[in-house]
């Protein structure tokens, strides 16, 4: 018998495929205009680009337990979390293309995606999203709701002060937060052993009197199981917990990373244990899905991604002057509105 419902397995599978295909497409799109000479500011998608191909299990394993009312905060490598949380894929992609139809009208970009409908946000400062998740959890608790909040961070981020302060606060106030640490072995080029005094961050739960779990080998099923308990615990009002998952970063830290810090054989070896392939084989072996269902899910996921990229390409750029809008919400409390900021004509 399946320990995880087939519908959940299918959702996880399709979502992982969607994420993978999204990231692989981004590899191509990001390279446009950057050949033969790589220039970070060129092409339809300029700026830094941190992709998560290989890290899908972290995102789907826990988001499978979340509803639309739960909150997710993510770091600089956010696409897999966003997709698993159900962020509007068209608007997200348009944002990454810097278009006016984007989530932030082109103002945020790939590291700063905000979808209040899906209750998702991310940011470019390591560990800074953890307290935001704590805040969402506090809001839930104060409003008597059983919503939970999940903060994703990398293993490198678990050494930042914001991590410690936020977990302590969440534990003291018994807030429904789960911090998911994606251990992809590196913070940019620095291996975990050179950044982290303990082999795994689950033990850091002891510093806050909360449970910690470590999921080995990028296993989506185990991530699902561990997350189930953590989310249930949070919803029950029993407070925060930590989950660390050993995961695989197939691509560079960012696109263009020379990857001098790892052996050429490392990534091919990781690919041998690809979590998507493993999940597919499991589902087929256990009869949770048929070959044709698998194909259908794959096609469906890809079609959605393709449509999102097409939407982004077809959308218009914002007008230059729009740069001056959205600094402040208009004031409507009897307080006089602020005079528009000084702009420049170029």
């Amino acid at each position: 018998m399946l320990s995880i419902e087939a519908s959940q397995l299918k959702w996880m599978y399709e979502t992982m495929v969607k994420i993978r295909y999204y990231e692989e497409t981004m590899v191509q799109v990001y390279a446009e205009g950057k050949n033969p000479v790589f220039n970070i500011g060129a092409g339809p998608v300029p700026g830094e680009m941190h992709l998560a191909a290989g890290q899908e299990p972290a995102a789907v394993g826990i988001c499978a337990h979340l509803t639309n009312d739960d909150t997710v905060t993510a770091p600089h490598r956010p696409h897999h979390h966003a997709i698993a949380k159900g962020v509007d894929l068209m608007k997200m992609t348009a944002e990454i293309f810097g278009k006016e139809t984007g989530l932030g009208k082109g103002k945020g970009g790939h590291m700063h995606l905000f979808d209040p409908v899906a209750k998702f946000s991310c940011g470019g400062i390591v560990a800074a999203g953890v307290p935001h998740a704590v805040g969402a959890a506090l809001a839930a608790k104060m409003q008597g709701k059983d919503y939970v909040a999940v903060a994703f961070i990398g293993e490198g981020a678990a050494n930042a002060g914001a991590f410690h302060e936020s977990l302590n606060l969440a534990a003291v106030w018994k807030l429904p937060v789960i911090v998911v640490i994606e251990d992809n072995a590196y913070g940019i080029s620095v291996p975990k052993s050179a950044s982290t005094a303990v082999p795994s961050n689950d033990v850091r739960g002891a510093a806050y009197g909360i449970p910690g779990a470590y999921v080995k080998d990028n296993d989506p099923l185990e991530m699902y199981r561990v997350s189930e308990e953590a989310v249930a615990r949070a919803r029950r009002g029993d407070g925060p917990s930590i989950i660390e998952i050993e995961t695989y970063r197939y691509l560079g830290h960012f696109q263009g990373d020379p990857e001098v810090y790892r052996k050429k054989t490392e990534v091919p070896e990781l690919h041998q244990r690809d979590p998507i392939v493993r999940l597919k084989n499991y589902m087929l072996a256990e009869g949770a899905a048929t070959d044709s269902e698998i194909s259908q899910m794959e096609e469906h996921a890809k079609a959605e991604v393709d449509a999102a990229y097409q939407f982004a390409r077809d959308s218009a750029y914002p007008s230059p002057e729009a740069a001056l809008d959205d600094v402040f919400e208009p004031v409507h409390t009897g307080v006089t509105a602020e005079v528009a900021a000084t702009g420049q004509d170029s």
């Binding site: 809001a139 600094v327 409390t333 006089t336």
Partner: protein, 339 residues
Amino acid sequence: MNTATKRMLTGSKALSEAIAQEMERDPRVFVMGEDVAGYGGIFGATEGLLNKFGPERVRDTPISETAFIGTAIGAAAEGLRPIAELMFVDFHGVCMDQIYNHMAKIHYMSGGNVKLPMVLMTAVGGGYDDAAQHSQTLYASFGHLPGMKVVAPSTPYDLKGMMTSAIREDNPVVFMFHKALQGLAWMDQIDESIGIVPEESYTVPLDKAKVVREGTDVTIVGVQMMTHAATRAADRLQAEGISAEVIDLRSIAPLDKDTILESVRKTHRLIVVDEDYLSYGMTAEVAAVVAEEALYELEAPIKRLAIPNVPIPYSSVLEKFVLPNADIIYDEVKRIISL
């Protein structure tokens, strides 16, 4: 004005009354920070709130400014309206990332889709020998960075009215109150820390400077303690027939240029006085605005008075030397008038 509006309150009581009234009015408003509950805030800004509203809405935090200010951001994004107290502005360095990269930028980065209706309240100012890490105002450190409104009221009336506005505002507001203007029993008792404050709620705009004394010969722009120093200087000058106009900036960002420019167009002379550091400070911004937009109106060079680019020293004799005061302003007006 009936007698009820002649009620006198200290700065801290005016502040805590504003917060209490808004908490009554709007259940989404809550307060958190170090020692804000039972202690009522080190500078009394939250006194009495715990008793009225209980520990759910008046929350003591661990000494974790990054965590609790970030928590306020996360809660504001969910529709609550937090007031977070950073005990001394001097501590901003441990949590500035949450303040300037997140609180101040999320609205913009989200294309206006995420609102952060929150107040970051903090104590500023020196003059009581609390030395280099507990005496700063840092007005410009906040005013320089876009996306937050930064206010620094100088009277109990404005403390209440601007706090009410700040809480109702849908944008993040950095609310700086000056310790010496709280009217605390354990500090120097200065007259300006007590003033008329109506009991009923009212708002004062967050973006308007105020001409607190009209004059024709020179404009003195100040904020908080330096506004009061300027007024005292103006009193002395008046006795000698010199008419100084004093502007209380109140708002650090956005800056109310119009009020400043209008005054300079009338007086043709400008002194800017600041309890913050001189370089890249408020005196620079105000001077620059005038040099850019009303240069031909000036009949004398602009004079800037501020802390002369040194950390704030501990010993009274040293601290007094670096803080501008009414005497220095008086001297500078006399000098500038004779140019």
